[in-house]
């Protein structure tokens, strides 16, 4: 399966990925129009930092996804590419997915009363965040090509 691979050592914390994510999920899909939209479009990934590391935290589209397992309304599902997606009209805003996502990447659209999460830009060839990163700290890779030790270290596809 293709996954977005994060290389923390390359991340400068510039938040270009966050911005392009929000733009991609806006009505107008351009930076200019997105800035004028109210309510503001929401990003699906989050650049977080500690003293030693900066990096974007994003949905891992877990194989055994806690959010999907826990969803009490049948809103979350796995699409044909293995991406954890949302059937918007089924979401009742109970926030059970937020309660269980170990990465903290499901958020709340207060205005629409919907859970919001990464949809892997399923309509795009390359996800918006990956496209926007100036240092290639985000890249799409086939998980099977990455050595297992390294995968566990950096990608943390497994969530326990």
């Amino acid at each position: 399966m293709d996954a977005i691979y994060v290389k923390p050592d390359r991340c400068m914390g510039c938040r270009s990925c966050e911005i392009s994510c929000a733009v991609q999920h806006s009505e107008g899909k351009t930076l200019f129009s997105a800035l004028l939209e109210s309510p503001a479009p929401m990003k699906r990934l989050f650049v977080e930092a500690t003293e030693s590391v900066k990096m974007p935290i994003l949905c891992r589209h877990c194989e055994d996804a806690p959010c999907l397992n826990a969803c009490i309304s049948g809103c979350l599902y796995k699409d044909e590419n293995g991406f954890v997606r949302r059937k918007k009209e089924r979401c009742i805003g109970c926030w059970t997915c937020m309660m269980v996502c170990p990465f903290g990447v499901v958020t709340r659209d207060v205005n629409k009363h919907l859970a919001v999460k990464c949809d892997r830009c399923h309509k795009l060839e390359v996800p918006a965040c990956v496209n926007a990163c100036p240092t290639k700290a985000l890249v799409v890779k086939n998980l099977d090509e990455i050595p297992k030790e390294k995968r566990q270290n950096v990608i943390l596809a497994e969530t326990g």
């Binding site: 500690t50 935290i57 826990a70 009490i72 009742i92 926030w95 309660m99 903290g104 709340r108 270290n153």
Partner: protein, 398 residues
């Protein structure tokens, strides 16, 4: 291999998925009394038509996709020696591996007149309440738990006058602590729900309820929502070990060979309270079903235990997540309030054992995971308290 599952709800469904993953060939027979596979937590939304009858059922036809032989009947007895079930129709059903997933049933107060009242556990119950509400103007709900409050919200929307009666001094115990429960109570009373705490009923009357104080509250619709009890009555003569509920080992196996149980019907270890508890939660039933199904089909999946409190919801515009030991005031407690929100963390030594998030829920899942795993916090405790914990903090050092 012939798998028989008793109970066609989430524990049964989750087990079916796990069985099929591990054994594409085996025969799966499911006996259930209800139309199977709907989202039980959504039934309050049927009362005020917030969702349609169609949206309440699973989107996927798992009966078809997983090749389940469905039997609409009730299991009334189990012989674990002969590996055989007796059904209400008189039919017998043999199994190689059995899953007991009969869930729970509403608990009724020990007072006269309960037959005049309604409960809210099944889709049929929700429809009955909806019908009764059509001709009603006042309702009394006994029990200030989530089910009672959800019912209250739906009936209020239908224009009924709603009163909740709660035996304890606070609503939502033990799912919330006193302070956060008071915030919820304020929200619902502002909307118009009457809440009477430290009070209970002595009788359900034809036109209301009488209280211990001697007062009578008039109502043309009474709903009893004081909790549930595991549906184990039918196992009485089976010889299966039961205490509060069906006793299982770490692999969800009961005291009988080839007989497993999952969901509301079992008691399992509470991960933070460190004693057996009955879950009564959807999320736990999913995990148990998965482990039980895997083990029934020859795999080996340990079920580490449950969290008795693992709740997320929104009540009158107030979103909340509540996990672990949140209500008892023991342990080291950190509380933050402001902006109409509330955040509470409960620590035991170096571990997080409970958390409440109200208002702002971002990253709450990180805390849930910590409570589940019971990993020592080390130097991250400060960050947890400040609320700045993020997933980066758990990245292995480069």
């Amino acid at each position: 291999m012939r798998y028989v599952i008793v109970g066609g709800s989430i524990a049964g469904a989750s087990a079916t998925r796990a069985i099929r993953t591990n054994d594409p060939e085996g025969t799966i027979v499911m006996v259930t009394t209800e139309k199977p596979f709907y989202y039980r937590p959504l039934i309050p939304l049927i009362i005020d038509d917030e969702i349609t009858q169609e949206d309440i059922f699973f989107p996927e036809d798992i009966q078809k996709s997983h090749g389940i032989q469905m039997i609409n009947d009730r299991a009334v007895a189990l012989d674990t020696e002969k590996k055989e079930l007796t059904l209400e129709s008189g039919n017998m059903l043999e199994y190689d591996k059995l899953l007991i997933a009969t869930g729970s049933v509403p608990l009724l107060p020990d007072v006269p007149g309960t037959e005049k009242a309604f409960t809210l556990r099944t889709l049929t119950d929700a429809h009955k309440i909806k019908e009764a509400a059509a001709g009603a103007s006042r309702t009394v709900i006994l029990g200030g738990g989530f089910v009672g409050i959800k019912a209250a919200g739906a009936l209020l929307k239908l224009g009924l006058n709603v009163t909740i009666i709660e035996k304890l001094p606070q609503i939502l115990f033990p799912r919330l602590d006193q302070k956060s429960a008071a915030m919820v109570q304020k929200k619902i009373t502002e909307k118009g729900v009457g809440v009477i705490t430290t009070e209970t009923i002595t009788e359900v009357l034809d036109d209301g309820v009488s209280l211990t104080s001697g007062d009578v509250i008039e109502a043309d619709l009474v709903i009893l929502a004081i909790g549930v009890s595991p549906n184990i009555g039918w196992l009485e003569r089976s010889g299966l070990k039961t205490e509060k509920a069906v006793v299982v080992d770490e692999f969800l196996k009961t005291s009988a060979e080839d007989c497993y149980a999952a969901g509301d019907v079992v008691q399992a270890m509470d991960l933070v309270e460190e004693r057996p508890a009955v879950s009564v939660l959807w999320t736990n039933a999913v995990d148990m079903g998965k482990a039980a199904g895997t083990n029934m089909a020859g795999g080996k999946k340990r079920y580490p235990g449950l969290l008795s409190v693992l709740n997320a919801t929104e009540i009158e515009g107030l979103p909340m997540v509540s996990v672990g030991a949140v209500a008892d005031e023991g342990g080291e407690v950190f509380i933050e309030t402001g902006n109409g929100g509330y955040r509470k963390l409960v620590f035991r030594d170096d571990r997080l054992i409970g958390a409440i998030f109200m208002g702002r829920l971002k990253n709450s899942g990180i805390y849930t995971n910590w409570i589940k795993n019971q990993t020592p916090l080390g130097n991250l405790k400060d960050k947890a308290i400040k609320g700045t914990l993020s997933y980066v903090d758990f990245m292995p050092k480069q």
